[in-house]
Symmetry: D3
Subunit: 241 residues, 6 copies
């Protein structure tokens, strides 16, 4: 089985880290292909970045010409595009935001999300709400760290995460979710220290995608996620000739 | 005061109709400037179109180099982009989806939305929910007509609208909302026939935008809608050189 | 256009301040007429006052014999009566509670209301809920100041407001609402200091009322807000003769 | 124990019927005193009537000079005033709307309310919502009969009730509530025919009031229902002298 | 009238205390019969205990062979079994969790529950939610005391309760609920000290059960709570012979 | 990896069918062990059965003495016990009700559940609600077929399912869920006919359990699902000696 994992930004280094995380979670027979959009933001932080990212990710999948794949994992935590990709492709589509929440609901009564900047909290809340899994979300908290800063100083990142984790537990969280694809890996370091399950969205999405593929399930074409209608679409500013 | 009204698709004819509707609603001192994105879908029907449209609208406003404006009206019913535009510009931003709902809440206890294709219902429901005005929405109904077909046969459009209106009333709607910018004008023909107020989102958004400008109010920069962070962003597929 | 603004209490001085605020917000062609009920409470603080006020305001409008008007603004924050007035008059009716919330939703993701006494919080929450705009309300907070004390010591009022504003921001508010008609004017002084938009309900209601009138929209008579049935009604304790 | 039952309108005949219903439900040691407001609407149908009624009921209790009482039952289904009366008196206050819903929740998973005119549905929904018992309400339905017509043709009333009952069951109701104090008595005739429990609000409120009195419980003065502040209040239009 | 009160655990001493509380609340003509399950947990703390308790309570009522009874009170705060008992018996069934909440809603705008261990909070929240009375619940708080420790050191229990009461008030509670049948009696000691109404579920359930019996109301057999289907059921591990 | 799948009833034939379904979904390295409770109901239909089943399932797992296992799948659709099992065992626990809903949310905007008897609808709704996945549930519908009748006449079962499926789609469902473990297998026959994804809870739960095990995730012990406290518990009526 081949799973395509799309980064939501143009930073290839981040795609690699995400692919590593995805491969660590994947079953033996699963091949993971990472895609980095050729355009979009270098990191997605805020609504404008998220809207730009959604179009770029759609364009990336629309023009993909590699080997056939069985599922798509969207590796932008809280980013837009999920529903459009469900229209576009015929295979199952799993977004890391919803994936983490689905697994977290199985592990405790309330979960908390720990993300990067405070400005991303609203997007994540909306994404969980429309995915239908917000009911058991106790809180979404920021660490104050930008996406591209997560890996520059691992100790600072861990400390910021632990501080937010304490707040999340006080708000009722019994499970934590890594609220950024760039945090992948942190769950292994911090879970035993916090004595709490920590769910990484990339890993969760890979397992859910594999599950759907194995069960022969894919997106319903009845209603919301019908195939895009054929029409004229231009994907980016026309160039002067 | 100048209000920029952005069409969500690339069909200039539709921009003109929207601008006409906007001008009909505008106060004497208000200038309405219509913008048609240079890229994007020729009509927005479904999530993929909506995600593409959001990026194109943002790009259109980002690269706008006309006279200064005092407010932005986003004329795509149920389309994405609202929050990103709030980050981008320093003036008030009003989306026609939320605008129609805000005014409808003042006119009756429950409102209904009548839109084009059934596939757009989910987007509209989500847009109303995240805008905070879904509580009094009795139903969102489709007419089965595509966006670009609305004007080809006005009698068919009116009949389809009246059929859906009856269903909406049965579901509890006391006020109706035109669920597509391309329906602008229909409210004048059908309101007295139906003996119900019908709210057009474009008109509603123009009045709300004027209201905010007059009161000196604009988007809060504290929290969700802070200015976009400076970073590298590419707005469309790089061209081969 | 003429807008009638009804004070919810019998204190004429407060009507004047409200009318001043309304006039400051009104468009050039709008005439604002203030009405002070001849009976009711001298200030509305709590449910009993609110119920008394609602009947008095209805009676005031029912027996009004001045020049015709185009809209009614109800200037009691969190007070009852809104729906009854919608039944009574044929023109649009806008309550300052809902009006402030409608505009606040356009300016940030969550809003907070800062009111007078803690005892008023429940009424305001219920009023926002039934108006359909409570979803984005982060908090309703009291300042501990009574309605008629707001103007006696402006410095104390400002200090109390600023303290509550800080709490509201901590609760997630990105926009603030003045939760009492008697606070009108405060938004101009404090908005830049707090670097947050502050919405005054009186101003907001005037603009929304003007918007509805301009668009030719008025209350739906289908369903909830049908005209009152003709029947015997006595408006106050019969006097001994 | 003495329970004061206040009619919400000025029709003394209706007070008598309500008192009869209350007495039929009361415990041996309970004395029921009926109060008919000296002013207000002759029947409460719609918001305007409800607001007028609330003030009249408050005035009636405020000026009551009979023997001391232990609890108040408010016998207006869906009418305003509940919270104001809780501020006014020191004894428990039970509104028949909430009372019926509280008992109905104990008898089945979802309940339905059958009321008089459709225009009253909204008020009832709001009253249940703010009382905290709307969650298990499957539907609120009208019979098309006006309050004062309920007793003129009992067969018509029963037929209309049975028709609405069928609709309510289809909507999921497992228990029915009589949505008007003037329907009291109907539960005895129709419950076995429908093979469903039917809850009458007047009876329910009497039992709940007795329960609270017996347990020594009364309204909390902390927070929302603090005593009315001393101030100048005028209860009705001052008379020309 | 005879009311059967079932303890949720096997501790007969606790049954006696509950029966005492029930008798103190019962009307003169009401006989209270306490039942202690012959199997189950010695105290119910957590979900496993609650599930075990539910089956044991059902078995206790199923095999009851004493004098006929008119109602059942389930005296396990937050414990499972309520709906199953409604299927089993033909008389009204009142659970102390919901009973306390129903009365609390009549006494203040928001109520708080103070229970034993933190681990019980989730069960109580779910029980209130599915009973339809969670809307006005401000908070559910633990005292850190185990069920069987409540009576060992009354001073410690009171102190822990008072501490939690302060937190509950800060969270908006205007009324408190004793969140464990073993706390019965505490309301008399602490209500005046806290100047808040405190509702004891056992007393509340007795009054509600009496109310239903007096009004001739019992569980609806239409829909959810139909009689159990005849089938083979084994109530506990078959013994080796 | 070994997954223990517990039937919720004592019918061994049904355990076998469930185990077959589970094995069909399991990964190559997964061993599925079916457990049939030695006591409980022969089929679970209604609340009483569900409460009895929960205790029996807990007892079955508590006294299990087979080879170690890595996860538990609870194969009773809408039945109680989930949370208690999470307390009892140290490995991940997945209930087929929640499992089906989690996967269904990934496949369409709204899902519908088709179950056996109407009386089970309430339990399923509550189970989805407390699991945190009810938001996207469009409807829960019964087929009128008892659990043990599902396999006696496959044609009748399919016809009944298809009828309910049409109703579910009319209610907005874009994905269907088999609302009984005894329906396992039906998804393969009917999915292409209905042109809709159909999710079987047993298969879904197996995949989710495997996912959690692979990712090294298990139930949080912080808060709700702490280990059961050591205490005296009796699991079934003591036998006369």
């Amino acid at each position: 089985m081949r799973i395509v994992v799309t980064n939501c930004n143009t930073t290839a280094q981040m795609t690699e880290e995400i692919v590593q995380g995805a491969r660590a979670a994947a079953a033996p027979g699963t091949t993971v292909t990472g895609l980095t959009p050729a355009w979009g933001p270098e990191s997605a932080e805020g609504w404008l970045d998220s809207h730009l990212s959604a179009a770029a990710v759609l364009d990336t999948l629309r023009t993909y010409d590699g080997p056939p794949y069985d599922a798509v994992v969207l590796a932008g935590f809280g980013e837009h595009g999920r529903e459009g990709v469900r229209e576009l492709v015929d295979v199952p589509v799993v977004d890391i935001t919803e994936a983490a929440a689905h697994l977290a609901c199985l592990l405790g009564r309330r979960y908390g999300v720990i993300t990067t900047l405070d400005r991303s909290r609203g997007q994540i809340e909306d994404s969980l709400e429309t995915a239908g899994v917000a009911r058991n979300c106790a809180t979404v908290l920021g660490t104050g760290l930008a996406v591209l800063d997560l890996t520059t100083d691992p100790t600072r990142t861990e400390t910021a995460f632990l501080t937010a984790a304490t707040q999340a537990q006080a708000a009722g969280a019994e499970v934590l979710i890594l609220g950024c694809a760039g945090m992948t890996g942190l769950q292994r370091k911090l879970s035993s220290q916090l004595r709490l399950p920590i769910v990484d969205g990339v890993s969760a999405a890979v397992k859910l995608a594999e599950s759907l593929v194995t069960l022969g399930l894919t997106t319903s074409r009845t209603g919301s996620y019908a195939r895009p209608l054929p029409k004229r679409r231009v994907w980016g500013r026309p160039q002067p000739t």
